[in-house]
Subunit: 416 residues, 2 copies
């Protein structure tokens, strides 16, 4: 094809990316790598090893758990030419569970796994919510020990610290589904009462107090004697509203032990919060969420919990598991709010500005020698004026520059 | 949802991945990271900086270049609910060109960019060809200097060396589209003759010599006087079959200069090869391919070339560019063939086997102190027998193990 015919055929394409996803120019990629590498390094400090998988998964992996409707509406799902239904993964946990189920007999438990995959969801892009985002996933499989719950929360805390966050910038809110179930059992709440109560808890912070009170009374309309207890317990996060029996129950004592051990590990910004229920169906016991404490950005950053039954969908035995997922977009907002973003630096150590074509071979030899020493070197071949070449290097944040022409090579002296 | 109802609802899902893609268990991920990081490090040695983008691209990006039919047949393309046609990127160069076009006025040229994206193609999976693979992409934008061509080939050579490949394990075959055009012009070949000749060159090594001769004679049936020249030039890669005029042409002298400069940079396994034409439409001048020289795996590993017109599809001016793409699957086959794969190691430095629940707090404190020193530490909470805990650590390739019980903590002595 000749150049002319190419020009004629062109329709002048848009240079915009697909809607709701990001282009990572080198400066953006620098920041993105900083975020993902800091996450990965912290997970490795605690003995976690990296795994990975394709973004393409058979759709049934999500349908089993969440019902077909949700898969269709909130995910990228399509049919391939072999008539298979394929989904771009919206979360990593089902993939991790699938992989563990597949090699359960070969793997050495406890298994400490982490990954920093990209995930997709089909929704209107907005602040903190894009169609594609990355997420640190940290999971500990094969032990139901409370120590595992404590470790997972400690890793979450350590990741925040690794980004330079101080304890007054974020707070860890902890609850337990098993404990909530116990409270509901104790008060003999029906399935419907539990369900509507959970929904109310979930939107508690988004509605006015009066609305909350009337909704609660409406849900518990047959149980007027419980109104005061639940207004204090759920409305005011006041655990002391509950009777001794609940407060001494194993599930509550476990929550207390988690808090106590976190404190003796120097984690002092954790607290119990009855309003933490978490969206995913699969959590079974401890759940937690990390909040930004700044007034202008006061919201949930990420969270996790214990999910001991997820392998059941693969016909495998019960396998205890606890973990969390931390998204890059929300985290980057947090880092911006608290002025914790790093300054861009270049991976290139030295830029050689060449002022004369005759010294290219000298530049090559020198660069080659330096590269063998582990120094990253770029050479400018543009034949632009020295000033312009230096400008290029500064724009790229390259810390060292030398300019060479015939004089420099002859005298063997250079200005760095 | 209670545990019972979950159990009932489960359909016993398959734990297999989607067809033609890979799961990366920690051992696989170790190898994959080794491959991608070695590629990245080598690119950075030459002053390249990383960029990235989403795997989702508007389909028109590929339709403009290659015709709609190819996009449909060989790519994952679907329509989103906003009626946009979306493609999972089959190659990275159009994305890089799109990003450069978008910020052409802000970017500092020459631009040295690399990326290690995953790419998708819809085809029957086979050895060396999966539906998803990763690829190092290295591109130098903004200079038409021959030095840039030489640098790109040098980076390709350096990547192979970084994997431990010796010069006798691979060979770099170089050609030039501009030179081929000149030869065709010189012999006044028609558009159709050029096209069918290119196709013949492409399959030269797959057909028998007799078939090649008869096909060539058939293509040049009106030009019997050229048969001998082309049988030697194309059939035997014998450039001396061409007349002085062609051999002294600028395009041939440039090829010679590339070879000569590579040699003075200590790259001695490059040679001219008339059969290198490369599949993509967008190449304009120098093209090259790297071959495995081992008899049992003698095939093209990867390649690249100069493409100076790709930005035209975005309505932008001509921008010189040269680059290459190197796939992970083919490379891994090469490393296996030549016994160059690394031994798996663990990112975890120390495994603490805990023999008594009472010493957990001691284990936590110790681990915490070591982690602050930059040591990666995992703790075993399984309460299994010491031997089983040690076995777990060995299975994970963790180099150091200590076992602690009450005695050890009391006496403050440990066995490493």
């Amino acid at each position: 094809m000749s150049k002319e015919s190419k020009g004629e055929r062109s329709k002048k394409l848009s240079s915009e990316s697909y809607k709701g996803v990001r282009d990572f120019y080198p400066d953006d990629k620098f920041l993105h790598n900083y975020i993902l590498e800091t996450m990965a390094q912290t997970a490795e400090r605690f003995g976690y090893v990296e795994y990975g998988a394709s973004i393409l998964e058979n759709s049934e992996l999500y349908e089993a758990k969440s019902g077909e409707e949700i898969v269709n509406e909130q995910t990228y799902t399509f049919t391939d030419r072999g008539d298979r239904r394929v989904t771009l993964r919206p979360e990593m946990t089902p993939t991790a569970a699938r992989m563990v189920a597949k090699k359960k007999r070969e793997l050495a438990f406890p298994l400490r796994w982490y990954s920093t995959p990209n995930l997709f969801r089909y929704e209107r892009p907005q602040r903190g919510r894009l169609r594609e985002h990355w997420q640190l996933n940290v999971d500990l499989f094969g032990t139901s020990s409370l120590e595992a719950d404590i470790e997972i929360i400690s890793v979450a805390h350590a990741v925040m610290e690794a980004f330079g966050a101080k304890e007054d910038m974020f707070a860890i809110h902890i609850n337990s589904r098993a404990f909530m179930d116990h409270v509901y059992d104790f008060y003999s709440l029906s399935e419907e009462e539990r369900y509507t109560l959970s929904k109310l808890i979930d939107r508690k912070n988004k509605i006015e107090k009066e609305r909350f009170v009337s909704d609660l009374q409406n849900i518990l309309k047959d149980k007027a004697d419980l109104h005061e207890v639940f207004l204090r317990f759920i409305g005011e996060n006041d655990f002391s509203a509950l009777p001794e029996h609940c407060l001494n129950h194993k599930t509550k004592r476990e929550l207390d032990k988690i808090l106590q051990d976190l404190e003796s590990n120097d984690i002092r910004n954790a607290k119990l919060d009855v309003s933490i229920v978490r969206g995913f169906d699969y959590y079974t016991d401890m759940v937690f969420e990390v909040f930004d404490t700044s007034p202008e950005n006061n919201r949930s950053l990420f969270g996790g919990g214990r999910y001991d039954d997820l392998l059941a969908i693969f016909g495998e035995d019960h396998l205890p598991a606890v973990g969390f997922g931390m998204g890059d977009v929300t985290l980057q907002d947090f880092l911006e709010t608290h002025d914790l973003l790093p300054t861009t630096t270049s991976p290139t150590d030295l830029y050689i500005c060449v002022l004369d074509k005759n010294v290219y071979s000298w530049a090559h030899t020198t660069a080659s020698r330096l590269r063998k020493e582990g120094i990253n070197v770029a050479i400018d071949y543009t034949n632009k004026k020295a000033g312009d070449q230096v400008k290029t290097a500064s724009k790229l944040f390259i810390p060292h520059i030398i300019c060479i022409g015939e004089d420099e090579v002859e005298n063997n002296t250079f200005t760095l």
